[in-house]
Every structure is written in structure tokens, then in C-alpha cells.
Symmetry: C3
Subunit: 206 residues, 3 copies
């Protein structure tokens, strides 16, 4: 299914961006792979632990780990050229954010949780990977400083849940929520509603 | 039940104090709400995850989240006047600490855990919210530096468990433990057995 | 069983080394005990939470906590002499690392997880205690900077799993993996393939 493909693209992009952050902290190759993997899979892991849902996604599908470790290693080799594809990263990161939010809502909804918890779990899935990354990198999580990142995850999840509430078919709701959330995030970046990720990161490191 | 009312007062006070800490770290409004909520509900969440107890309290009662987010927003608006009510905060925080400890013991006891684990889980419920708050704010947790905060939670839980062991009725044990623990904490603050929270926080930030 | 004895030696050594790190951060006696306990039992706790395995080891065996708290208190009293036994610590830490890895693999294998997850959980058991310690001490985790620590846990777990795959009896595989991993770690330290722990720690603290 297409959402699955988007998910794999998302964890690959998240792992690469996490790996770059790890390199900024002078981590060794192992640390870079760990931070990349935690960035990519940490959000879903926290969501499943909070929901008491087992086995975890990457425990049932260890192949996800090869994607994240591979992406981290690739980022380590190509870091010299990364700044040239910064915009591509922001776009993939935006795609990952909304995909994580929608997938997180689906999984929480399957547990018959209250709609507000469903939306919240979508946000947790979207932001907690980056939050764990920043804790491992010993800095105040960026997402707690940049309003329009988590807000996009909240808006995407809320829209997704509301559309289904009002009878929109699951698939249609999925695509509408993904598209609207994705455009919302891109506009937020363009309009400077939020600082570009890497700039903000550099500032925090000083 | 009165303990429930005390619990709601406690999470509201904890959320407000967490929000203030977040503002000190120049977090945006979203970050302030997250740190406030984590401070208020993080202790119980860690306890339930360690005990494998699901659904979590705030997943079953999403209304708790409205209390914590509301308190965080209120603190953000009224932060200018907060230093004038510092003592009120310390009193509410002390009330929250002992209430969390007693509630944590009850929940752990319901899982037939060893009495030492029951007391430990009371302490976990009391201190881990502030511990997560400090990790998110990128500082060494205050509770690991200020002896008479965690000690109060331990003493409250131990007294509570012992009283029930020696045949004191559950309700009586609850009120005795709450009262003794609360007074213990207040005396500790008055006598300077522990630094006032906000002063200690400011020192840590330098 | 001998592995159980090695485990108790390991958590005692890990608790003492965690306590020393806490003292470096000017934590009070309570904080030192918490950091020591988290260092010793945190890896197994994270493994069990990720696997959804309850009750946790130290919840079922609270006596472990007396070992870790006792070791932390002993380290606090004897810290003046600790630098004289630094090498002994590195040896006990190496023993703990490989013991944690083998025990973690056994527990993960009992859940019928994929072999790659079994090896990963061995590593999680070995390194996550120190990772939590560093998060509580507000520094970038050492294990993400020192390659040949986590690598030893991975190699030990992989060897252990492969030996059993190829029909080697469980006990023999255990001892071979423990011995090879232990020697690998000691050689890595001797050859300077990794910085001695305390030196690296001091550097990070500046």
C-alpha cells in the first residue's frame, strides 16, 4: 500500500537527518546509527509503549532497522553534500511528519481510545523521534521551540479524525489529511513560520 | 472522593510549575504545554509502564490533559505574577508530592508487588514527573540534588504501607500519611533542609 | 547458577560506577543511589519494556535494589580510593557488559523474536543502563562516542546466537560467548581501541 511506501521513505529520511545531528555531536559510527534509528523509530516506539501495544513495529519487522541503519551510514558518507540537499530533506521530513501522524492515529484508533487520545498519539508518533534524538544529543528538544512542527502533526491528525467522523471513507480521509498537512508544513517553512531545521540546529549548538 | 480532588489540584499545580520551567528555557507555547503536561502526568506514566499497567491514567481519562494544558496556558499568561505566589506553589507542590506517593502505592499494591516495590512506586509517581521535566529542559534533575524531596515521598509511602500492615484502616492510613508527609515537606522547606525550588532552579540555569 | 552470580557482580559494579558519575555531578546521596541503580538495572528495564515483558526483573526480585543501593553507598564512602582501582572497575564493567548481553539474548530469544532482534536486545541490555546514566547526568551518552563498547555487546550476542544456531549446547555457547566477548573488551581497552572510561568521562565533563 502507498502509505507503507511513504512510511519507508519517511523513516529513511528521519534516520539520515538524525545521523547528521549525531555527527554534529562528534559521535562515532555506532552512535550515528543509534541516533538515526532512534530518530526514525522512536516516535512509534513511545506510542506503542504508552498504548501497551506489543510487539513493537520494528520488533515484528526487523527489516526497518536495516533501512534506518543504512540511511544513517549513507548520511555519514555523504554528509559533505548534505547541505546542498537541505530543502529536499525538509520536504521529506514534512512528508514523514504527516505520514507518522496519520499512521499513529490509525493505530491508536484501533485500541478504541478517545478521539483526543487518537489525535495525541498521532502527534506523539510524529514528534517523539526527534525529541529522543535531541535528548541523546543533550539539547532542549527543537520541537518544543518550533511551534509549527508539532502543530502540523496535531492539525493533520485532527483533520483525519474529523473527516472519518463525518463519514468520509478511510482512504479519502487519509489522502486529504496527508495532502493538507504536507502543504501546511511546506507553507510554514516557506513563509518562515518556523525556522529551517538545520539553521535552528546550528543555533542551538552554540 | 477527596483524594481525587487533591490529585486534580496536584496535577494542575505541577503542570503550572513545569510550564514556568519551560518558559525559562524560551520554549514556545506548545513546548510549555508539553513540559507542563509531562511534569504533571509523567510520574504516573512511568509507574504504569514499569508495572505494565494499561490503559494509562490519562489515556483512560483524557480530561486530565485539559487540566494540565489549561494550567500551563494559565501559567504562561500569569508568569509575571508567579514569583509573588512562590510559597503557594511550594505548598501545592508538597501536597501533590504526598498525594502522588499515596496514589502510587495504592496502584502498585493492587498488582501484589512486594512492599518495598510498593513504596518505590509511590516515590516514582512523586518524583519522575519533575525528573522528565528536567531532562526535557536539559539539566541534571533537581530531585537528584535535593535530598528532602524524594525522601518525603519515600517516608510518606513507607508510613502508608506500614500503617496498613499494622491493621490501620485504608482511609485512616491515607489521611495520616498525607498529613505527616505534607508537614514533613513544609518543615523541610521552612528549616531550609532543602533549597526553595525556584532559587535552586535559577542556580542550575547559570 | 554461575551466570546469576556474574549478574549480581555485574549490577554491583555498574551501580558503583554510576554512583561515581553521579558524585561528579554533585548529586546528593539520594541522587547517587538513583543513578547507580539506574545504571545497573536500566538496560534490562528498557529491554523488558520494549518486549512488553512483565513483571520487570527488579520488580519480581526487589533484592536486586539492595545490591545496587548498597554498592552506590559503598562507592560514595570509598570514592577517595576509587581511582586506585580504576582497572578493576574496567574489568568488572567488561564482565558486566558481556553478561548483560548474553542474558539479554536469552530473554529476547524466549519471546521467539527474530535473531537480529535477539542480538539487538542483548546490546540494549548491555548499553542502555549507561545511556540512561548519561542522560540523567546531562551529557551526550559515552557509549555513542566509544565504538568498542557497544560493538563488544553486539559481537558477544551475535556469537552467542550463531553458536546455538550451529548446534552448540546452550551452556557451552554461553561460556564461549562470555569468554570471547570479555577478552575482546579487555584487548580493546589495552590496545587503546577505546579510551579508558574515567578519562573519557573527565573529558566530557569539561
Amino acid at each position: 500500500m502507498l502509505l507503507q511506501v511513504i512510511y519507508l521513505i519517511a523513516i529513511t529520511a528521519e534516520a539520515a537527518s538524525g545521523a547528521i545531528m549525531g555527527m554534529r555531536r562528534r559521535m562515532d559510527l555506532f552512535g550515528v546509527c543509534v541516533v538515526g534509528t532512534v530518530t526514525a523509530l522512536g516516535g512509534g516506539t513511545i506510542r506503542d509503549v504508552l498504548l501497551g501495544r506489543h510487539p513493537l513495529g520494528w520488533v515484528a519487522h526487523p527489516e526497518y532497522l536495516f533501512f534506518t541503519v543504512g540511511a544513517a551510514l549513507a548520511a555519514a558518507c555523504l554528509v559533505r553534500f548534505m547541505h546542498q540537499v537541505r530543502m529536499a530533506f525538509l520536504v521529506l521530513d514534512a512528508l514523514g511528519l504527516v505520514a507518522f501522524a496519520v499512521i499513529g492515529c490509525d493505530i491508536a484508533a484501533a485500541t478504541d481510545a478517545h478521539p483526543s487520545i487518537v489525535v495525541l498519539m498521532g502527534m506523539v508518533t510524529g514528534i517523539c523521534g526527534g525529541l529522543l534524538r535531541d535528548v541523546l544529543c543533550n539539547q532542549v528538544p527543537l520541537v518544543l521551540r518550533r511551534d509549527l512542527y508539532a502543530s502540523v502533526a496535531l492539525a493533520t491528525g485532527a483533520l483525519y479524525v474529523l473527516l472519518q467522523r463525518y463519514g468520509v471513507a478511510h482512504d479519502h480521509a487519509t489522502w486529504i489529511a496527508l495532502l493538507v498537512g504536507f502543504l501546511f508544513r511546506l507553507v510554514a517553512i516557506r513563509k518562515g513560520w518556523a525556522l529551517p531545521v538545520f539553521t535552528a540546529r546550528r543555533q542551538l549548538e552554540d
